[in-house]
Symmetry: C2
Subunit: 414 residues, 2 copies
């Protein structure tokens, strides 16, 4: 239908791109097409200077006083407040701490308690594994006598029965990029008397969310993907205001106490979202995350989503003409409103293809068993990046040059 | 008995101090006596350059490939191995991840399961609050149907009955610095059929430990105090080899899976200590911790302990002659072998005294209700620091100059 785009088309699209200038705010190697921001977001240029200041001035010079003087103690709330508009929540409904897995555990245990005597955690078999593992650990060791029900994606709705305490889902699928309809599923869960816990790891920072409007109960999300918070950046937890006063997690600690520095022997949860804090947060990693969140918020989540859809559609146009004959098979929804900000392609030699692309300076990732996964983080990916990636992929598939022994070697993390 | 030391005595002691040269390996303000390394360890000089390299080169340039190329994926084990000799454990019994509170939760839940059908967690009322909070959260939400028994320190041994599943204690008390006898209490617990979980937060990096020789079952400890890992640095968890194959924590996640990147739907714990991993670790904070652990290991834990005892005894000699008349009252064991590396002094105006000391550039901290707490981290505290601190304290107590309105103002963190 549409003609195959040329490199000149890509150059022109970059010229018209209102976000193009933001690429200079990230530190990226000049000759790389970085299409893995869905796994590890690129480095904001401001991060290094910020960390230098935090380390030398705040830690090294001001020492212990920095907990007050530089607001270390308020970082979980401060970054939460910066994140709130990105997910459509109030500042006092979000807190930044721990990992996605740990926050999932806190909120799952709290949701079960909140919806007692219901016992069932309902989730889908294609959920990101750690979400299921957290539920399995909780169930196996008898927290709240919970039960876990894992069903195919298509059977979620018919499994929303009177036993389900909480529906645990990931918004954007880490493999296919298929996006659930948060509003519709939340509404259905509520009608069935269940609470919802959304994992936003593959959507936060890539697309606008409206947790308050959609009546979401609980959510978690990742700091190191589209939020550009750095490797293993802390995660966030969201709790709707209406649940906060009664919220009781199985995993509590001194930073969630109403008066941590009173050192009282009895745990009394803080009034609001602070009660989800547990131990002392890793300040250096928190500070790096703050730089990323501020930058993404500055760019604007609506503009990011708009460009991300344009990028993925442009990739589609570039590969569509030769995709079928290459042996690659589309693994993501064709409608851009129904997917997140990455695309997946099936191929039996996916692992070797990804390695060969990396050797050609196009960085995506492999996901077992057969996915080539490419992420299109709008703040720093250009249309020329996309065109180049498609072009090198086309040439590689045409010549079969990916089928070499060195591209089949598996590293520890793939 | 002994004469009051002079500043010249302190200078002479520094001259003889074999660790004196290590002070230059830390970045400390020149005019400050930093006696709060028990709360936040000082900044190693190497940290800033290391983090700059990790941020710019590893994250910014090498991007996602750094998980393999720069060993991010092995950091929890690598730092654990560096820590092992400091605590008398094997490299494969320690892992670095999460916070002390989160690791306490994992190990408490695992210990209860391991010692089923016993249900009681026994601890002391003066334990650090987060240790008790973690147990309370676990009990309240029904993990393993546990019960919590909190008793005075003097009644621990008579409470080691046939119901106790795990004895949960902190080695060095955060207030008094009194050190439990790990070997004796572990042995008593074992005779009573209980397991032990030691919190080493106030001892690791300050004194040698012998977890293997003492037959300790489980332990956790803090990275941001004597290990100089930076504010909120990740914590560690120790599990004796004999417990690892059956160890089952309530809190699990993908990084603890046998094959995290197989993305299997069923949780299968990794073979060894790796199973205690949960979410993705915060790499920037982990890297800073590694610098601190390496430096402490290089200095040598036996030498550190020796100097730390000399420092605290020197402080005692400096203050002993005038302590009684000042209204300050000794709050730590007099025998240096029975205490950790900090000292506490009781005084009704402790908060104001600490603030006034800080104004005079002697940084200690206040602990409610009435403690002036001073830490003597041997790697960077000099005998002159100690003499100066004692001298300024003496003058302050003599003149009552601490009793001014500005010293009574409470900050958020005190």
């Amino acid at each position: 239908v549409s003609k195959v785009p040329t490199r000149a088309d890509a150059v022109q699209l970059d010229r018209l791109d209102r976000l193009a200038a933001y690429r200079a705010r990230f530190s990226l190697p000049a000759d790389v097409c970085y299409l893995d921001g869905n796994s590890l977001g690129a480095l904001p240029r401001g991060t290094s200077a910020r960390l230098h200041q935090v380390i030398e001035q705040q830690w090294g010079h001001d020492l212990i006083r920095s907990w007050n003087a530089h607001g270390w103690i308020d970082l979980p709330q401060r970054i939460g407040a910066a994140l709130a508009p990105l997910v459509g929540a109030s500042a006092d409904e979000i807190i930044v701490c721990d990992s996605v897995s740990v926050n999932l555990f806190k909120l799952l245990s709290a949701a079960l308690r909140r919806n007692d005597p219901r016992k069932v955690i309902l989730t889908e078999a294609s959920n990101f594994p750690t979400d299921v593992y957290v539920a399995q650990g909780l169930v196996r060791t008898g927290v709240s006598a919970a039960e876990l029900r894992v069903v195919p994606r298509t059977e979620l709705e018919c499994n929303l029965d009177e036993h389900v305490a909480v529906l645990l889902l990931t918004h954007v699928d880490y493999q296919s990029a298929a996006a659930h309809d948060i509003r519709r599923l939340t509404d259905q869960a509520h009608r069935a008397g269940a609470l919802v816990l959304w994992d936003l790891s593959h959507s936060v920072g890539a697309m606008p969310l409206s947790l308050a409007d959609d009546q979401v109960d609980f959510a978690v999300g990742c700091g190191y993907k589209y939020l550009c918070g750095g490797p293993g950046a802390p995660a966030f937890a969201f709790v709707a205001q209406r649940h906060l006063p009664q919220l009781e997690s199985a995993l509590v600690g001194w930073m969630g106490h109403q008066q941590p520095f009173a050192f009282a022997i009895d745990y009394r949860p803080a009034d609001g979202i602070d009660r989800l804090l547990c131990g002392t947060p890793p300040i250096l990693s928190m500070m790096a995350l703050e730089v990323g969140v501020q930058l993404i918020a500055e760019i604007g989540i609506t503009a990011i989503r708009e460009k991300s859809q344009a990028l993925t559609e442009f990739f589609r146009q570039c590969v569509e003409p030769w995709l079928a004959e290459s042996g690659l098979r589309w693994g993501s929804p064709l409608n851009p409103t129904q997917r997140g900000s990455h695309l997946s392609l099936h191929h039996p030699a996916a692992h070797a293809i990804v390695q060969a692309l990396i050797a050609q300076r196009v960085i995506g990732d492999f996901r077992a068993p057969d996915l080539v996964r490419l992420g299109f983080a709008a703040p720093y990916v250009s249309f020329v990046d996309v065109w180049e990636a498609a072009d090198r992929l086309r040439e590689m598939m045409r010549t079969g040059s990916y089928d070499q022994p060195q591209y089949h070697v598996r590293a520890k993390v793939t």
